[in-house]
């Protein structure tokens, strides 16, 4: 064959492979980046969104119209596998089965989810996150509902939370864009809260970590409420900055998350909450 013709043929064939493969790869990456983002499965209108990180495990919680849902970093098939293998100290087994489908996505019913606490060994899912998830969902009964959440894992929660997650993902009305605005993923815990019944407050955000935490309250009234002040409390310092339209509370010092949680729960008990 003519060398020039061979060269043209090689270039043509390789281009015919490289261009569509490269295009499909870029497309695949952008799709999986979105499918792997847990916020893709959180409705944009959620009243509460919490992101927790502990020893490389992550947990995402949302509350939508009083229904609580969680994004957990394991898949439905993993849960199905573990339903055969793991049990809680009390000998209970988790069980999972197809419940129904909603907007073409399957919904599964999960029983005895708390049995999962002792179930995970292969991957580093922190057991305290599982406990937290169980505690957040504990309520009316022991049955939760779950649906697949692509590369992010699964959505687990009350049936209405799972359905609203599916609906928001399919309509594109998700918390993805708000997450970067309100949440700081580098904190141990970060949250966004929008109280529906307090007209003076737009939203509250908080970032809680060892040694440094802050809470910001966005006010609907932009009038200045006063000046900043500072409180020193032996172990840590609390500074409150009151600005037009918002209050920033910063807590710094030599404290651990456990100490902060103990102090907060003490205050909440005193306040009767």
């Amino acid at each position: 064959m003519n060398p020039l013709l061979s060269k043209i043929l090689i270039v043509a064939v390789s281009t015919a492979v490289i261009v569509p493969a490269g295009y499909y790869l870029i497309l695949q990456q952008s799709t999986s980046a979105s499918a792997n983002n847990p916020f893709t499965y959180i409705p944009s209108e959620s009243q509460l969104v919490l992101e927790g990180h502990m020893n490389s495990s992550s947990l995402y919680l949302f509350e939508d119209n009083g229904s609580i849902g969680l994004i957990l970093p394991f898949t439905i098939s993993e849960l199905q596998l573990l339903s055969n293998t793991s049990s809680s100290p009390s000998g209970q087994h988790i069980s999972i089965g197809q419940y129904s489908s909603y907007l073409t996505k399957s919904i599964y019913a999960v029983n005895n989810f708390s049995a999962l606490i002792s179930g995970f060994g292969l991957r580093s899912v922190n057991s305290s996150l599982i406990s937290m998830a169980s505690a957040a969902l504990a309520g009316t009964n022991n049955t939760f509902y779950a649906t697949d959440a692509g590369g992010a894992g699964m959505v687990l929660g009350n049936i209405s939370a799972v359905k609203s997650s599916i609906a928001s993902t399919q309509s594109g009305s998700t918390f993805v864009s708000s997450s970067s605005k309100y949440l700081d993923g580098s904190s141990n815990y970060t949250f966004y809260y929008r109280p529906g019944n307090i007209s003076q407050i737009n939203y509250v955000t908080g970032n809680i970590s060892d040694g440094h935490s802050n809470i910001y309250i966005s006010l609907s009234n932009t009038t200045s409420l006063g000046s900043s002040y500072f409180v020193k409390n032996g172990t840590y310092n609390v500074s409150v900055s009151v600005r037009p339209g918002g209050i920033m509370i910063a807590i710094t010092g030599n404290y651990t998350l456990a100490q902060l949680e103990a102090s907060l729960s003490g205050y909440l008990k005193k306040a009767g909450l």
């Binding site: 064959m1 060398p3 061979s6 060269k7 090689i10 270039v11 390789s14 492979v17 490289i18 493969a21 490269g22 499909y24 790869l25 695949q28 990456q29 799709t31 999986s32 499918a35 490389s56 970093p73 394991f74 898949t75 098939s77 993993e78 596998l81 055969n84 293998t85 793991s86 049990s87 002792s118 179930g119 995970f120 060994g121 292969l122 991957r123 580093s124 692509g150 590369g151």
Partner: protein, 278 residues
């Protein structure tokens, strides 16, 4: 002689050269040794799997999942074998012809350089495939004895992806070999790129940008093991899942390997065409 006939002659000639070479016998001995060790490990370890996974709660693991985990362990050991084999067979492909001046004779033959290089590429790919298939043969026999069942569909996916990985790593070694005039430089460069540069880029992307460098061949090749259990054993990430890798993840790795194969081979063809013997 027609084009196809010339290609087959070149392929047959280099294939014979490869399997009669010392490199082939070194790789053959190594693969038999590794296969024997893995066989021993599999039979000795088959009852200790729950402790590997995290405790007695995995005693009741379904047979299919136990098989997946054993296949994952076998694939974990297998992953570096095509790299070593293709470095042995592919790295000297062009550089040795230049270094040993055999190119004087080869270039004067009435055979096009594209035919020469592609015949040699296919021969190098075949011997690497033969070496790795010996290991796969051992694996199949062990799984058959341990679990009394034919390999799962994941096993065939893994084998298909392994073939693609061999094609892509052989392309990369041919590309590097066509750049250098000395064998040693070609050997070292492939090892440095695959085991050092790729690792540094991977760690850098993970630490600085929390980004999975999916475009690296070393990451894409891990799909050979991740079709069983989706845990990547390279890099710093501890994330993973006991489930097999998802279809989009398989597709991503497959496309990356296709791109390495085509780009590496075409670039090496064009560089080889312009090579001069000094």
């Amino acid at each position: 002689m027609a084009g196809r006939g010339r290609f087959l002659t070149v392929y047959g000639h280099y294939f014979r050269n490869y399997y009669r070479s010392r490199s082939f016998y070194v790789m053959l001995i190594l693969i038999l040794l590794i296969s024997a060790l893995m066989t021993y490990l599999s039979f000795r370890y088959s009852n200790n799997l729950p402790s590997f996974l995290g405790g007695a709660q995995f005693n009741n693991l379904p047979i299919s999942e136990r098989e997946n985990i054993f296949s994952f362990l076998w694939a974990f050991v297998l992953l570096d074998i095509p790299v070593f084999a293709s470095v042995f067979f592919g790295s000297p492909a062009v550089s040795s012809e230049i270094e040993n001046k055999t190119a004087y004779h080869i270039f004067s033959l009435p055979i096009g350089r594209y035919t020469l290089l592609s015949g040699k590429y296919l021969a190098s790919f075949t011997v690497t495939l033969v070496i790795t298939s010996i290991y796969i043969g051992f694996e199949t026999a062990v799984l058959l004895v341990l679990f009394h069942s034919l390999p799962s569909p994941g096993f065939f996916y893994s084998y298909g992806l392994l073939v693609l990985f061999i094609l892509s790593i052989t392309s990369l070694t041919f590309l590097i070999s066509s750049i250098f005039s000395k064998n040693l430089y070609a050997y070292i460069t492939v090892f440095l790129i695959y085991f050092l540069v790729f690792n540094v880029v991977d760690i850098m992307m993970q630490l600085l940008y929390n980004y999975n460098a999916f475009f690296l061949l070393s990451n894409a090749s891990s799909i050979v093991q991740r079709v069983f259990v989706n845990v990547s054993t390279g890099g710093l990430s501890t994330q993973g899942s006991i489930s097999p890798a998802s279809t989009p993840e398989i597709m991503t790795s497959l496309l990356v390997m296709v791109l390495y194969t085509v780009f590496g081979l075409v670039a090496s063809l064009f560089i080889f065409e312009r090579r001069e013997v000094h």
